[in-house]
């Protein structure tokens, strides 16, 4: 039984392995009935309107209206494309993995309906190469959907075609950035492109392209089935719907929990994820993945919504909470964070390439005690100069959390400089028992 704080919509029946098969998806969730209705009875504009009215916001990070984005694609008979972003490589994020692993057909049905709304004839799921098991599951599900006539040519006898290819990446976080994803999908090194032109106008192979996250697209069948009003019955006015939230770090029951947007963040971290080990307290948490500015325990009662997180100077991002308790050294956490972005920087633009490299070196000096408190000011000012000056948002994604950590935990940075040589790294807890295991 799911916890009372959970609202399982996307993860409904997800505990049942039968959901993975087409037959199980139909039996348990009434699967593909919405696609049939959409293909047989609905006009493109009708679907677009339903999606736009629902207020569904992208679940991949930026939170842009899904229906609006789909309506930006030009009309006409040029080839159009749909790309499902399943790259999920931001530290702390693992919700798309769960959705693909447990309910692949929900995603495929969502893609089929969204492709109708965008008038796309070719769709791709770009999945990170590490998710080999999930890609195998998708491959099997896609084959089933072709077999049953939900994909391919003349779908359901409606004179519409849709090819769907599961495309495995090969290990590069930057490929989650939508234009880098397009380059990778075109078979190149995954470097971001200058925007505009935006992918909706000129994307894959130069054609109009709709790019959406796995969770965004997984929401589509139910919205079209039950209507925009039903969807708005969940969540807040500006953040309608439910959200699968990944919670990890110093909590006793890490995992994915589906909740209505807007529930108190405390309910997520304590009520669902069990809070930190007994005797320990939360020191900081990233509310939206490693690129979100960290928040402090004073902000635990904020509603978990796009607007509340933005107001607090952070972001909901992909919806991934990473918790640090009183044993975690914030300067070391800042260093881990910066190292990640340094490693993943594609090197195309200087502020990010040089800025991430320099920040890592400075933070290494800080934790070795070779820096001075004045260096902390310089670190902060460099972050300011990275923000807003990069070709894509990867540079900002390091600058935002690092500058927030230096600002909010300055005394701790200064103390680390003083106590150079000590390695304050401690293991948060013995690996959790097999929490979450049902076997």
């Amino acid at each position: 039984m799911a916890h009372e704080l959970e609202t399982r919509v996307l993860l409904e029946h997800a505990e049942d392995p039968a959901l993975r098969t087409l037959a199980g998806y139909k039996r348990l969730a009434g699967g593909y009935a919405t696609q049939e209705r959409a293909y047989r009875e609905m006009e493109q504009d009708e679907i677009l309107k339903e999606l736009e009215d629902s207020g569904l916001r992208g679940r991949g990070g930026a939170g842009f209206s899904m229906g609006k984005k789909a309506s930006f694609l030009p009309r006409g008979d040029m080839a159009k494309y749909l790309c499902c972003n399943a790259d999920e490589s931001e530290p702390g994020a693992f919700k798309d993995r769960e959705l693909m692993q447990r309910n692949p057909h929900q995603l495929i049905e969502g893609i089929a309906i969204a492709a109708l709304a965008a008038d796309a004839g070719h769709a791709f799921i770009f999945i990170r190469g590490e998710y080999d098991e999930q890609a195998d599951i998708l491959d099997a599900a896609v084959a089933e959907a072709y077999e049953a006539g939900y994909l391919g040519t003349n779908i359901l006898g409606c004179h519409r075609d849709l090819e769907l290819v599961v495309h495995r990446g090969a290990g590069a976080y930057i490929c989650g950035e939508e234009t880098a994803l397009l380059d990778a999908l075109e078979g190149k090194r995954g470097n971001p492109r200058l925007k505009p032109p935006f992918p909706a106008v000129q994307g894959l192979y130069g054609g109009p392209t709709l790019i959406n996250n796995v969770e965004t697209l997984s929401n589509v069948p139910r919205i079209v089935a039950n209507g925009a009003e039903w969807f708005k019955g969940f969540g807040t006015e500006q953040s309608p719907g439910t959200k699968v939230v990944s919670i990890s770090g110093a909590v006793r029951r890490p995992g994915n929990y589906e909740v209505e947007l807007g529930i108190p963040t405390r309910d997520l971290i304590y009520g669902l994820a069990g809070g930190p080990d007994p005797g320990h307290e939360i020191k900081a948490f990233y509310p939206g993945g490693s690129s979100s500015p960290v928040l402090t325990p004073a902000e635990l009662d904020l509603p978990y919504s796009f607007e509340a997180m933005a107001e607090a100077g952070s972001m909901l991002g992909s919806g991934s909470i990473i918790v640090a308790d009183d044993r975690v050294s914030i300067p070391h956490m800042a260093l881990r964070t910066a190292r990640f972005y340094h490693h993943e920087s594609c090197g195309k633009c200087a502020p990010c390439r040089e800025g991430t490299n320099w920040t890592v070196k400075m933070l290494e000096r800080v934790v070795r005690g070779e820096a001075t408190p004045m260096d902390l000011d310089i670190i902060s000012s460099v972050q300011e100069n990275i923000m807003g000056h990069c070709l894509c948002v990867l540079g900002d994604s390091m600058a935002m959390p690092v500058s927030a950590m230096v600002r909010k935990f300055r005394p701790e940075f200064e103390a680390v400089i003083e106590t150079a040589g000590l390695d304050p790294h401690v293991v948060v807890s013995a690996p959790a028992e097999t929490l979450g295991a049902t076997v």
Partner: protein
């Protein structure tokens, strides 16, 4: 607007190759592309890559899948394998090599056939990911069949600290289990069956943790 590399800007209806054929496209200098008969490409690799190319509106899109196929066959992206794929795809080998070198999972240097990626990112680090990496490295020390590497977040922070062993996820792992896993791989046994991600249920269905909250 000038034809951008690879994008069919002038006419989106044209396949990319035709749309940009007048520009200099990286990887397409005919004189540097090896001929199929020169490279000794195994027929099954050729067939596999041709099938992959047919899945995409533009055959260039198959470059990452083709490199995966090369790596599967040879254990890593060998120069010969890259030349073979290049001959089938009609690319310069240098182009495919530039693609391969961009991605962390494609290896352009020899690696052991059993690959283990241990996550050392934020959530795993908090729970002992560094120690786990040390343990795997120690357990595999001196055995060329194994390739152990630290890795960025693998998207499984719920089972931190974790590792990908042969492209499957395991966690939460204790340092001592590194040796067990390596011994199991050597003996051809199933690896850490109780720690496989695929065996887990949803977190919310597990009993709530005890103690005060």
């Amino acid at each position: 607007m000038s034809p951008v590399d690879g994008a069919g800007v002038n006419n989106p209806n044209l396949p990319v190759d035709q749309a940009v054929s007048e520009g200099r496209v990286p990887g397409r200098r005919e004189e540097e592309i090896p001929e199929l008969h020169e490279v000794g490409c195994p027929p099954e690799l050729q067939e596999r890559i041709e099938t992959l190319m047919a899945r995409y509106p533009d055959r260039r899109s198959a470059s990452i899948p083709a490199l995966w196929a090369v790596q599967e066959l040879y254990g890593w992206c060998t120069p010969e394998g890259i030349r073979q794929a290049a001959a089938v795809m009609r690319f310069t080998p240098a182009y495919l090599e530039s693609v391969a070198s961009f991605y962390d999972l494609l290896h352009t240097e020899p690696v052991g056939r059993h690959r283990i990626e241990v996550c050392t990112n934020i959530s795993c680090w908090m729970r002992g990911g560094d120690e786990l990496l040390d343990a795997f490295q120690a357990a595999a020390e001196g055995d060329e069949d194994f390739f152990v590497t630290g890795f960025e977040c693998l998207g499984a922070c719920d089972i931190a600290p974790m590792a990908a062993i042969g492209q499957r996820y395991y966690g939460p792992l204790e340092a001592a289990e590194a040796g067990t896993a390596i011994a199991q791989i050597k003996a051809g046994e199933e690896v850490l069956p109780a720690k496989a991600l695929s065996e887990r249920g949803l977190a919310g269905d597990a009993p709530a943790p005890g103690g005060s909250s």
